[in-house]
Symmetry: C2
Subunit: 107 residues, 2 copies
Amino acid sequence: MVKRRVRGSTTGRPIMALLDLLGRRWVLRLVWELRDEPRRFRELQDATGASPTIVNGRLADLREAGLIELDPEKGYRLTVLGKELLQLFLPLHVWSEKWAKRQRERP
Amino acid sequence: MVKRRVRGSTTGRPIMALLDLLGRRWVLRLVWELRDEPRRFRELQDATGASPTIVNGRLADLREAGLIELDPEKGYRLTVLGKELLQLFLPLHVWSEKWAKRQRERP
DNA sequence: GGATATCGCTACATAAATTGTAGCATGATC
DNA sequence: GATCATGCTACAATTTATGTAGCGATATCC
């Protein structure tokens, strides 16, 4: 599915590898959808609107990255590491409202 | 170049529009490259390794989003809004080191 | 014990995004 | 008027994503 473990990690700089992983389509969105509780494969498909091929590929990427894991009982969920990352992203939620407001004012 | 203003903004939820914008390839990276000082078009091309077509497209997206602007004297730079967003992302730098370390430990 | 349902996931043709390379138009400098 | 740096465009080739159908395994009900 994915050739290199993390695309663009050629520099060896973790931040680049991270930005690369998070910059793949649907990755941020998938992490976001897992923010509250575990979700099933099909739930994630429906919630995002992405194709199963891609959902599967991205979930694999995120698992390799140690950010999510599959609990057969409950579905996909964030790992401890994944929750840490989510914490860093939570401020985006509030900020995005402000950003959207300014976009409306200055179109 | 880009069809909808922000892809996936159909929900009308700012956070979705933002995650969508940031989830486009090279977008996070471009913002990151602008963290310290303005950069020229070709500098950004060289720094990222992305094709001019894409750099141009993403810069356009980021300009529409009000996150960057072009100063003819100095090059592309973050707007006030863009700097705010960058602030939210700075913790990623530190966290990525921790993440990389754990990846090395648990391969 | 067979029909039904849910689970994660795969196959595959079509469509869209990205790459890599070449080059254009404009303005400044020599 | 030749040279250079600027942002940017054209376009064929490649890579990635989409949309739809369905598989194999497991559990549940009748």
